[in-house]
Symmetry: D2
Subunit: 145 residues, 4 copies
């Protein structure tokens, strides 16, 4: 681990500007990172449910941070591909949590997946997997996943 | 065709509230629908490029509207799955256009795809395909794709 | 559970003919199903590694059987969408195991995911998620996932 | 173009051994490659329709060949991710054709897509997109897509 939850939250605040306030890294271990989306009006669709792009963004930030937790803040990993399945309607008025893990951290590509939950619920609202291109040299120090 | 470009834009304004101003249906034919994202500050990531969730949202709205153009505004189609490949960095300061077509319009499922372009560019910035669950009865009147 | 591992293996033998001999359900619980692909010459690519279509087929059969374990053998679930990430080269000469779980079992759609491993290895060789259309009435008896 | 249809078919025969007989490159232009799957008993599922893994394999080989047509036979491109939507049941007794194009041919990643048709039909049976990792140096000579 190159960055723990506190380091990741500090990174968010410094480099992600106004977006940072929407997110909070709850925990960051080698096996799993948990990211919270503080659901606000801007994330809602007509009808009160969390929008698809908001869920997409949560999964993207979560897996990105899981990579940074392993290779440090110098990296400029770029999302190259993403798949998402929307499973259930999120609860109105509840935050979303992304349970995230890396499946591969190679020299050129990283792949992670996330299950999204409405806080307090057992059944996931969405499943996502994303691939990132790692800039040359950036993954040097990290133990491969 | 149940709705043309003007009808779809009127639908956006009536039912999508503040989001509607970001989008404009440029054309809507049986073979292809073209949707514009008026890129503004809210769509940008640090660095000036359009964010992944904004591109995801553009493709989602575009394919959704392509379905509505065929089955009319009564439908409550729900996105069940999405895949997106990010191919190139969008141009700074240019709108995005989604060239969209339906591949299937069944009684239960619809599948569409979109290529996203920075306005004025030939090479696409992203490719997306999305699946929608169609509520029972809604696709009755439409000719199947 | 409508079908356990023994019932699923008997189903494979009866309805999948010559393909059945390639597969073996190792275990089937509500939480997880484990399916083995007995890797043979027909599954190999030049170079000795398991081919992409063989891994795709393993994930497809595994998630399909996970659905049947819940709704019984009457169903005619149809694969409507699939995504797969190839993470590492499979070991030469080792069987593949698919660790499978259902994420959603609705009245119309089921979604499952699988991690594929070369037997005896900790790091997965592939990740897959697949969506199935459930014929009307088939999921009636099953507790929803 | 580094390889035309004849060169690609010769490559298939030399390097893909017994698999080669299943495939035939019908045409290969910069804009589009067309690959035929000669559907035989081995590609069929119980019921007479072409199996999912066979369609997956067709799309994979087609996009792979589209890359080789641009960077030549030296390459060892590896499939890293794939998504496929199954849209309709293929016709019994008809070959499948994959209408294929490259969306990106970068130094490290290539992305292509394919629409699959039963020969003689207008509506596609499947849509696929796939990503390939390009070995360092291999794409040097090719004009980027």
């Amino acid at each position: 681990m190159m960055m723990d939850a506190a380091a990741l939250n500090a990174f968010l605040e410094r480099d992600f500007g106004q977006v940072a306030a929407q997110f909070c890294v709850e925990s960051a271990e080698v096996e799993q990172l948990m990211l919270r989306l503080r659901v606000g009006v801007m994330h809602l669709r007509p009808g009160g449910t969390v929008s698809g792009p908001s869920m997409f963004g949560l999964a993207d930030v979560a897996i990105y941070l899981a990579i940074l937790s392993r290779i440090g803040p110098v990296a400029l990993a770029v999302t190259t591909g993403a798949t998402i399945d929307f499973l259930r309607k999120p609860e109105a008025g509840a935050d979303l949590l992304a349970e995230t893990r890396l499946l591969k951290l190679g020299r050129r590509l990283a792949v992670g997946e996330a299950l999204l939950f409405s806080e307090g619920q057992v059944a996931p609202v969405a499943r996502a997997s994303m691939t990132y291109s790692i800039p040359p040299g950036a993954a040097q120090g990290a133990a491969p996943v």
